[in-house]
């Protein structure tokens, strides 16, 4: 039975209330806007790159607790990662939140991002958790458009 604590874990509530790296970055290498029209989640992601390595990440915007805490947690795990490592993390995270309910969620290599494993029980919220990550992936892959979770 899905319950509240499974979705809104304390870490999520904490990052929602006190988002980390929550500011503009004027000297960012990449910046991109992410938008989820269904619930109006709207964020701006900033990434600083040194060659192939992410040296800083921040974000701004407004959204629900799931999208905001997901963006916040994401920014805390990316510093020092190579672009290909970040993309592979995106894929693992994506698999985690979209994995079928009849399988154990695979949290290998996800560390504290595993707190989002409860999201898969709430199909309406998967897009919220994925917004920051989709925006990141598009930014790293050089996409200049606003990223919308509604294709």
């Amino acid at each position: 039975m899905s319950d509240l604590k499974e979705l809104y874990q304390d870490t999520i509530l904490d990052h929602n209330k006190n988002p980390r790296n929550f500011h503009k970055m004027p000297d960012a290498t990449l910046s991109l806007e992410g938008y989820n029209p269904l619930c109006g989640d709207h964020l701006f992601l900033y990434v600083k790159l040194d060659n192939d390595v992410i040296t800083d990440v921040s974000f701004e915007g407004s959204g629900c607790a799931i999208s905001k805490s997901s963006a916040s947690l994401m920014t805390t795990v990316l510093k020092g990662k190579r672009v290909d490592e970040a993309i592979s993390l995106f894929e693992k995270f994506h698999d985690l939140i979209t994995s079928p309910m009849d399988k154990q969620p695979n949290t290998d290599g996800l560390g504290k991002l595993a707190v989002f494993s409860g999201v898969r029980e709430f199909p309406a919220r998967i897009k919220c958790a994925g917004l920051a990550w989709h925006t990141l992936k598009s930014a790293l892959e050089g996409d200049q458009r606003t990223i919308s979770t509604e294709q």
Binding site: M1, S2, D3, L4, L7, Y8, L13, N16, K17, P37, L38, C39, G40, D41, H42, S62, G63, C64, A65, I66, K68, F122, A124, R125, C128
Partner: protein, 417 residues
């Protein structure tokens, strides 16, 4: 007694517990909690007589209409046409010719845009909409405006969510061809003064389409009193089946409009050289319609009439007052849409908590509400918010459910606050 006593509103009584017995789904559990259904603006639940009418049709009566000589087809045709008469009386239309069966409000509006609109709205002409329209009363007009080079003007509203009628009045020009206005706003609850707005438009010789999707289930509507030219609504929001809706159109206008879709039923005779179209209302009803839905809609109107629209309205208004007062006791809760005359809808935002989180939290408590922009993005933009949480009431909701909601919202604040 000869003294003239002013008419006082009789207190009306609605036995909500017995009404609830008619809606078996209300006994369901969601996430282990008893279902509390406050998403009636999206679609209402259906009472047993409506479900049974549909069931019976497929079990015993199924047949196509308007084409067979055999008994079942004749009976199905009679039943379907009886539903049309029922709708005619329900909205007090002038005749059955003015009642066109469609899929829903959306299709009704698109029909008018692509027939009446295509024919009468030309390059440089103007269409008046309002700031609180549902996307389905915006987009069809934008499509038309693009096709024919017309412009759209928007009646502004106040911070309470009331249309500014003085501004509306000033918008008419010799190029104004149509007004399209929502009767009851699905995101604000505002009941618009449509009678008055029709009167103003007619003074300028301009016809009016009224979107009644959120009105017909909450108040009596009377086409001959309102004098609007088109009125659109959906059965599924008034305790009826999905996939059935009504376009009411004034007969003189319908008469001159070109058909919407081509096919069977809408023709009188067809050759490869020429086709003559069927009479009203069949001209607008190409192909096999939602027969079971039409027949179930007949049962829907019987059900609503048997309770009585005035009784429903009085009950819901009292419940709405209770809900509004209870919700306003929650610290940090702000109601979006505070018009003087409202029906059913209470949209709100809670300080520091995103509506989407409110929605999921309440869902886990068994409470179904709608969160988001409610297909009225311009309304959200106007109020500078991404979304609201919306409670929309129906005749089977009760005070005890409001109390559970209020308690849950206190918990929401504690969790996210």
């Amino acid at each position: 007694m000869t003294a003239v006593v002013p008419q006082v509103d009789q207190p009306v009584f609605l036995d909500v517990d017995s009404v609830r017995e008619d809606f078996p789904i209300l006994k369901e559990h969601v996430h282990g909690k008893p279902l509390i259904y406050f998403d009636n603006g999206a679609t209402s639940q259906k009472p047993i007589p409506v479900i049974e009418a549909m069931h019976r049709y497929y079990l015993q009566e199924n047949s196509n209409i308007h084409r067979g000589v055999h008994l079942l087809s004749t009976q199905a045709t009679i039943a379907y046409e009886q539903a049309r008469s029922k709708v005619k009386s329900f909205i007090n239309a002038g005749s059955e010719n003015e009642v066109v069966f469609v899929r829903g409000t959306t299709e009704a509006i698109n029909l008018v845009a692509q027939t009446y609109g295509r024919q009468n709205v030309k390059s440089g002409d103007e269409i008046i909409l309002t700031a609180m329209e549902h996307h389905s009363n915006i987009v069809p007009w934008q499509l038309l405006a693009k096709q024919n080079g017309a412009t759209i003007k928007v009646v502004p509203m106040t911070d309470q969510g009331e249309l500014i009628i003085d501004e509306y009045e000033k918008m008419f020009t010799p190029r104004t061809r149509l007004v399209a206005v929502v009767h009851v706003s699905n995101s604000l609850g505002t009941v618009n003064p449509v009678h008055h707005m029709v009167e103003i438009a007619h003074r300028h010789g301009v016809p009016v389409l009224v979107d009644g999707a959120q009105a017909v289930q909450h108040m009596p509507v009377d086409m001959r009193a309102m004098q609007c030219d088109f009125y659109a609504f959906s059965a599924h929001k008034m305790y009826g089946p999905t996939g059935v809706g009504i376009l009411y159109g004034r007969e003189e206008l319908l008469q001159d409009m070109p058909p919407y879709q081509g096919g069977g039923d809408m023709i009188r005779s067809v050759s490869f050289e020429e086709t003559t179209f069927n009479e009203l209302p069949y001209k607008f009803e190409a192909g096999t319609p939602n027969i079971s839905g039409g027949i179930a809609f007949d049962a829907t109107i019987d059900y609503v009439n048997q309770i009585g629209m005035h009784r429903i309205m009085a009950y819901e208004n009292a419940l709405m007052r209770y809900a509004t007062e209870s919700l306003l006791n929650i610290p940090g809760l702000r109601i979006i849409g505070t018009a003087k005359t409202k029906a059913s809808v209470i949209s709100f935002v809670l300080d520091g908590v995103h509506p989407h989180d409110v929605g999921t939290f309440l869902d886990l408590e068994g409470i179904a509400i709608r969160t988001g922009h409610h297909c009225t993005q311009p309304v959200m933009t106007f109020f500078g918010i991404p979304a609201t949480s919306r409670v929309s009431l129906a005749l089977y909701n009760k005070k005890e459910e409001i109390d559970v909601l209020v308690e849950a919202l206190h918990k929401v604040r504690k969790t996210f606050g």
